[in-house]
């Protein structure tokens, strides 16, 4: 990043975007679960509005906006910075959090006559805390501050997994916590080494100072390994399927759609913003190869699941794999880098919306049928047309069929692979699409077959509409105009101003 003033106009919006849900957490804790629900729901439109304002400020300035906390510029103080991709992620997070919150009202309302309920207080507070942590991850400019944000994210996400208290959910939460802790410690050790080398943890200052020394490689490897454990990239994915499949649907949508993207976003920040000076061919190839393995293993395992939520969770393992193709495809100052970059970001967005929609829909299916065994879906599509439409549309995006955001992402990546001569990456991109077609077919085929599904409880229209709305957004991403991709280039190192 080019040197810029410590605080730019509109910078305070970044502080507010983090503080608003953080303050919501505190108030909710003091006032109890009934108030917590009102606070969380009330904050969603405000947070969405703030995120849009940030995006407008960035677009208007054509450059990142920044804020130096306490008026102290780095290295001694902490800076917050939002560039194009941060703003887009903030808007995405606010939409998905809002959708999950309104969807969850049916399950996590505080019953009448009860002063406060355990599940409700936990859910409403943790979802706000996740939101605060994500916003900080998207705008944080200091690697230690980002560590605190990562921990905030972990401590908010783990209790959501075991909110219903069954033994298998507790085991899933414990395993998630241990992986996450390993990730934190590894990341922190890398941070210590970087500080020991350069005496600062500010991202833009580090970018100016970092050179390709052996110690930098060690620090980068430690931090990356930690972030991969938190992102559940193969082979560190073992914790994800049980955790995401056992959480309540609204929580799964946030965990799968957003939380794993938080640590991935930091991996992007690390390699593209902190370490642009390092030659990226070798690490890019390693990360891409792990991504390819994740695509294949995740998809094959998804094909073999008998329960819908587990299938959707294994699909997340596969879709996370695609994200890592961004490392070989967008590194450096090549003509094709913007293609790879746009493709990677588009994959984050498309998967976030499609997967959140599918988890919400899967929750509705489970509530309506009383189970989520795929073998028992016969005739369910006729009974729940909107919900299975949502699953189908989300599935289209996962497969990468046009016109969906998933198609756009994979198309951009394929173009980058072709332009850079790295044909090898097109194999997992295309093969993963075929496999995704297989597991989406496995969901839809029995549901579309003739039969009489035993519906126990008909889901509310409004909740079906929320899930469908997210799936429609995943579709609409395919029609993103050129201006959107130009916006994603704002603040990217090496950005030349021209987008695909």
């Amino acid at each position: 990043m080019i040197a810029q003033p410590a605080t730019t106009p509109g910078g305070f919006l970044l502080v507010l975007a983090v503080l608003l849900p953080a303050a919501g957490t505190l108030f909710s804790f003091a006032l109890g679960s009934r108030a917590a629900e009102k606070i969380a729901l009330g904050l969603t439109p405000v947070g969405f509005f703030l995120a849009c304002l940030v995006a407008m400020k960035v677009a208007a300035a054509g450059a990142p906006i920044a804020y130096a906390i306490g008026g102290l510029p780095p290295p001694l103080g902490i800076a917050l910075r939002a560039d194009g991709v941060s703003a887009v992620m903030m808007v995405t997070a606010s939409i998905i959090v809002a959708a999950a919150a309104f969807y969850a009202r049916a399950k996590f309302a505080t019953p009448d006559g009860v002063e406060e309920s355990r599940g409700a207080l936990t859910f409403w507070i943790m979802i706000q805390a996740i939101w605060a942590a994500l916003n900080l991850i998207f705008v944080g400019g200091d690697l230690f501050n980002l560590y605190v944000a990562l921990e905030l994210l972990t401590f908010a996400a783990v209790p959501l997994v075991c909110i219903d208290g069954r033994p298998e959910t507790l085991a899933a939460a414990l395993r998630y916590l241990l992986f996450a802790l390993f990730g934190s410690v590894s990341y922190l050790l890398g941070v210590a080494l970087l500080y020991g080398l350069y005496g600062t943890l500010d991202i833009s200052l580090l970018a100016q100072r970092v050179g390709a020394a052996p110690m930098v490689w060690t620090a980068a490897a430690l931090m990356t390994a930690g972030l991969l454990a938190k992102t559940a990239l193969f082979p560190l994915h073992l914790w994800l399927p049980p955790a995401h499949a056992n959480a309540p649907a609204a929580a799964s949508a946030v965990l799968s759609g957003l939380v794993v993207k938080g640590s991935f976003f930091l991996a992007l920040r690390l390699w593209f913003y902190v370490l642009p000076a390092l030659p990226t061919a070798a690490p890019g190839a390693v990360l891409g190869a792990l991504g390819a393995l994740a695509v294949i293993f995740g998809s094959v395992l998804a094909l073999r699941q008998a329960r819908l939520k587990l299938l959707v969770a294994y699909s997340t393992v596969a879709q996370i794999g695609y994200l890592f193709f961004v490392f070989p495809l967008a590194a450096g100052a090549h003509v094709w880098s913007p293609l790879g970059w746009s493709g990677g970001v588009m994959q984050i967005l498309a998967h976030a919306f499609a997967k959140a929609a599918m988890f919400l829909a899967a929750g509705l299916v489970a509530e309506a049928l009383g189970h989520d065994r795929i073998a028992g879906f016969r005739g369910a599509a006729r009974a729940l047309p909107l919900t299975f439409l949502t699953l189908g549309l989300g599935g289209l995006s996962l497969m990468g069929l046009p016109p969906t955001g998933g198609f756009e992402a994979k198309w951009l990546m394929l173009r980058a692979a072709a332009a850079s001569g790295q044909w090898i990456w097109s194999l997992p991109i295309l093969g993963g699409g075929l496999l995704a077609g297989g597991y989406v077919y496995r969901i839809l085929a029995p549901a579309l077959a003739d039969g009489e599904a035993a519906i126990q409880a008909r889901p509310e229209r409004s909740r079906e509409a929320i899930a469908l709305g997210l799936a429609v957004i995943a579709l609409a991403l395919a029609f993103a105009p050129q201006g959107f991709f130009d916006f994603l280039e704002i603040g990217r190192p090496f950005a030349s101003g021209s987008a695909p």
Partner: protein, 112 residues
């Protein structure tokens, strides 16, 4: 050998010992102890960085020292959350093993 290098070597040894315990111990509370050893090893590395940064009349660089204090707090919170999960798991399922294959096997006397 100067004291900060010595402390750095101790930190490295602690990370190694903790890592071994993390892999080798089946009991989750023992794993947690091992995790805390790794954590304190990492903090020592921060401490070495801080000590080496002595300048301007300070015997240490205060910034990494402050980070260690923040880190110790977070590590404790993590241990406490893990303990709560382990105990609840023992109440709910009677099996606190983390290894999916190990359920049903008797413990080898590791636990008190």
């Amino acid at each position: 050998m100067n004291p900060s290098l010595l402390a750095g070597l101790v930190g490295a040894a602690l990370v190694g010992l903790g890592l071994y315990g993390l892999i080798a111990h089946p009991h989750p509370l023992r794993k947690l102890l091992a995790f805390n050893l790794v954590g304190s090893g990492v903090f020592l590395v921060f401490g070495v960085v801080a000590r080496r940064g002595a300048a301007a009349g300070y015997a240490f660089d205060p910034v990494p020292q402050a980070m260690v204090i923040t880190g110790i707090v977070v590590a404790f919170a993590a241990s406490a959350l893990a303990v709560a999960l382990i105990l609840r798991l023992a109440v709910a399922g009677g099996d606190v093993s983390l290894d999916p294959q190990a359920s049903g096997r008797r413990d080898d006397g590791e636990a008190e």
